[in-house]
Symmetry: C2
Subunit: 225 residues, 2 copies
DNA sequence: ATCCGTAAATTCATCAGATGACTTGATGAT
DNA sequence: ATCATCAAGTCATCTGATGAATTTACGGAT
């Protein structure tokens, strides 16, 4: 059951060697790397192991294998580990990062929201209810849906994508560590956010989200010390 | 040369099938999935193909293969594609997201910076010079180093990680699409950021970064329309 | 009955060989 | 010069076999 953390296998070693060569600039983007047989000799492992190693790097977006042609370098920057490190960065850091996106999203939503966006946000706000309606789990889902609609209204897909990531990551962290004893968000504060966005004033919208986030951030700051 | 976008191979199909089963909750976290021989029959592909498919999911963090024991579900949420989608979200969206992180980082830096942080930021600001010193490439590097030092001073590793990602992603995009005709940042604006952080006023620091970012954001907004 | 060491079974890791599918460049006929 | 055809190169896939690590089953000692 107990496993040493750094025991590795040939496939991972081979993939790591290849990755280091790619990131080190041994081949340029678009260039073809040695074929499987040559890699077998270079890495001193069997062809099957080479293929598994290459497969890993293809899935990371570093390589591109084309049947009949060869395997080519697609990118020399590896961003695959970034989100893993974000996940391990602590709850306070994650919440702060999400808050930053949330504030900016509200700012952009004030400038760009469509009538449809406003209708959806209002509807989700009204449907949000209280924690007593249908249990904690269901309330959390409704709360998340409401906040997500704000980010959607920003029209920024990058922010929305990261917001979804943080929502999932934070939920995972809270489930595994805390027992959900964070301050409950104020209901009137939610309405204030929608109202601010509706007026089209970005600074007011940003301030509304920021003041809404403040209690949780303060609590997390306290917990992290 | 022309390649249909959805031509796939057995390994990717098998990996996708497995991924769908995992995300669909067929097995719970910690549960052991069928062994390679069984997967060979379930997926109707050879063991080698099964192994490559499993490798992909292991590298994505969904599975955990243990020699002699079995292959277990590590996570049922897949965040591996999030950054890829962010990369494809357009330059304006990426820049806005990074700006959001940058502003929040300055705010946090004002509250948390150490004397060492301040020293480093000042040093990098002075070393930044102009675009005429050592060429455009070198100047870009110094500029990035300065901005990164602000994010470092925030003490938030999640924001720093994402900031690095955006820096690389934006650089890649600019290289491949634009020809670097974005507004040059003002030098005095940089000094204003450091000064604001040094006073410890988070709102002033945030405002300094925001006004510094404004010209580029406006230009990108114009380009995106 | 419990504990513990050994053997057996299970499972993933790795290697080797062979065949097929696809791409690319060369060849040759028109 | 153009185009169809062919040959070489390369990745994709299958099959079989052996090794290494883990787990389980078993049997003896206490």
């Amino acid at each position: 059951m107990m496993r040493p953390i750094n025991r590795t296998n040939l496939t991972d070693s081979a993939a790591e060697s290849l990755r280091a060569e790619i990131l080190g600039g041994r081949w340029t983007v678009g260039e073809r790397i040695p074929n499987e047989t040559a890699l077998t000799e270079l890495l001193a492992v069997s062809r099957g192991t080479v293929r598994e190693a290459v497969r890993i790097l293809v899935s990371k977006g570093l390589l591109d294998a084309r049947q009949g042609s060869g395997t080519y370098v697609r990118s020399t920057v590896d961003t695959s580990g970034a989100l893993d490190r974000v996940k391990r960065s602590g709850l306070r850091d994650q919440w702060e990062a999400r808050a930053a996106l949330d504030v900016e999203a509200a700012r952009l939503a004030a400038l760009r929201h469509t009538p449809l966006d406003l209708e959806r946000m209002t509807r989700l706000l009204n449907a949000r209810g209280t924690v007593h309606d249908g249990g904690r789990e269901a309330f959390g889902q409704r709360d998340i849906a409401f906040h997500r609609s704000i980010v959607e209204a920003s029209g920024n897909r990058a922010i929305l994508e990261l917001y979804d990531f943080f929502t999932a990551a934070i939920l995972e962290t809270i489930h595994s560590t805390l027992n959900g004893d964070l301050p409950e968000p104020d209901d009137r504060a939610h309405a204030a956010i929608v109202a601010a966005i509706a007026t089209g004033d970005p600074d007011r919208a940003a301030a509304a989200v920021r003041s809404f986030m403040a209690p949780v951030l303060d609590e997390l700051q306290r917990l992290s010390q």
